[in-house]
Amino acid sequence: MSLDDAAIERLVQEAQAGDPWAFGRLFDHFHLPIYRFVACRVRRPSDAEDLTQLVFVKALEALPRYESRGIPFGGWLFRLARNAVIDFVRTSHEHADLAQSVDRANGDAGPDELAVTRQEIDAVRAALSALTEDQRDAITLRFFAGLSAREAAEVMGKQEGTVRGLQFRAIAALRRELGIEEPEMSNGTGPIEHPGMS
């Protein structure tokens, strides 16, 4: 489902006015990135499910007080998610443990394919575990949650350039961990820019 910013704002206003259907559309649009963001930081899928649900209920409670003020609704929602995860980790003394994430096997894959996929997935998981927390946050928000650099920066409370730098270093680390060679930049855009590294 694709919604532009104007459509999201319109849905937010309708939800603020008490339209459950509008809030349902917002849930449909945001639940997957929120779940992914949460699932990266908690051990069990059931916890991710509970926290995602909690984030949306909290959003519903806080919706009358929400004002755009330059912060997109998505960024506001991820802040709620980030705070919820921090609270959860603090109270449950749980740390993000990617190595113990529960597998959700691909039902369509055959045994061989599944084995290869599992190896690749395990490799990615190990590579992500090697990142710093900020780098992992940047990757999570940018790639798993699909936020723009600006939105990710708002959620993380950092400058956009800083987030770009974190992302760049995270990708470099992943590449090293996964044994992927640096690609040739053949599209004429020149060498890879190192944002936030100056």
């Binding site: 694709s2 008490g18 339209d19 459950p20 809030f23 349902g24 849930f27 639940h31 997957l32 779940y35 992914r36 699932a39 990266c40 899928p45 991710a48 499910e49 995602t52 649900q53 909690l54 949306f56 209920v57 519903l60 409670e61 009358p64 998505g74 994430s101 597998d103 959700r104 096997a105 691909n106 996929t117 690749e120 997935i121 990615v124 998981r125 992500l128 990757i139 940018r142 790639f143 798993f144 949650a145 699909g146 936020l147 723009s148 650099a149 600006r150 939105e151 770009r164 992302q167 990708i171 992943l174 590449r175 996964l178 992927i180 640096e182 690609p183 930049m185 890879i192 820019e193 944002p195």
Partner: protein, 304 residues
């Protein structure tokens, strides 16, 4: 969001992107069942909020809206009930609360055991609810006397001396009120007499069984019963107190027994309001509302 994901300043090789996507799809995506559960819970909360907003708008009350985080039916019902506010809601709630309090208090009083802290209140409540009609009142008094005897018997069987004593004292006091309350009405007098004859038998049988603490009280009750029976048997008598305004032997109680409590010793609290129980005039003359024995209204047999 996805449109803004990779801009020209964010080059990324397809291999990394593919692996991250695969990882997210396999490990970081909720199952269909999980998505359904989450959506159902969130939509339930959204609908509750909408219902609250509608209710608040309807009642004209402004205020912060809160959304239940619990998804229990009880929580939903409570919030829906809270949302249906009306201007008369508070007075109604106050009346209901007062009624409940009174109900609980009444239940406590009605269930008060003899000798208990609420026993006197119970007796007083019984007395204030007596009917105004003389005959009906006499029958009600007999019923009260029956009840006291039953309480005394039960307490005696339980070996509860104080309760037996309290029941029998109450019996004596009620008996005195009852004899006065007949007002000389033949039918009422007959009703009292019939009841008392039965009670004397019961009391006689009970006399040898009651705990030591209640022996004096049962003797007193027996004495009162026989004397009231005798008093009712006197021509023109309207009860024990009519045996003489100052008592048969000059005692204020009027029943010849120094230990017999007078009407003012009835175990009843002093109500703040008016005591609705009729206080018959202590006269020996004819009662205005109660004809004496006349040729047209002969007094029934005084002793069974």
């Amino acid at each position: 969001m996805d449109d803004q994901r990779f801009d020209t300043n964010d080059p990324i090789d397809p291999e990394i992107e593919w692996r991250l996507e695969a990882y997210a799809d396999l490990r970081l995506s909720p199952s269909v069942a999980a998505t359904t559960r989450m959506r159902a819970a969130v939509m339930a909360a959204a609908h509750r909020r909408a219902a609250l907003m509608e209710a608040d708008a309807a009642s004209g009350t402004a205020g912060a809206l809160t959304v239940a985080t619990d998804t229990t039916v009880i929580g939903l019902a409570a919030r829906q009930a809270r949302s249906t506010r009306h201007p008369w809601r508070r007075p109604i709630a106050a009346v209901i609360a007062a009624s409940l309090t009174l109900g609980v208090l009444a239940g406590t009083v009605v269930g008060a055991r003899p000798g208990g802290p609420f026993y006197a209140v119970r007796l007083w409540a019984e007395m204030t609810n007596l009917p105004k009609d003389v005959l009906a009142r006499a029958q009600a008094e007999v019923a009260r006397l029956d009840a006291r005897l039953q309480e005394a018997s039960q307490a005696s069987r339980d070996g509860d001396g104080p309760a037996t004593e309290a029941s029998l004292e109450a019996y004596s006091a009620i008996l005195e009120e009852a004899s006065i309350g007949t007002g000389g009405d033949p039918a009422a007098t007959a009703a009292i007499e019939n009841g008392l004859a039965r009670h004397v038998e019961v009391l006689t049988g009970l006399a040898g069984q009651v705990p030591a603490a209640a022996r004096e009280a049962i003797q007193h009750a027996l004495s009162s019963s026989t004397k009231v029976l005798d008093g009712l048997g006197q021509p023109g008598s309207s009860g024990g107190d009519d045996q003489g305004g100052s008592g048969a032997n000059g005692q204020p109680g009027g029943l010849g027994d120094p230990g017999v409590p007078g009407p003012d010793k009835t175990p009843k609290p002093k109500p703040s309001g008016n005591d609705k129980s009729p206080q018959p005039a202590k006269t020996t003359g004819p009662e205005p509302g109660g004809p004496r024995a006349t040729p047209d209204h002969p007094v029934p047999s005084r002793r069974p």
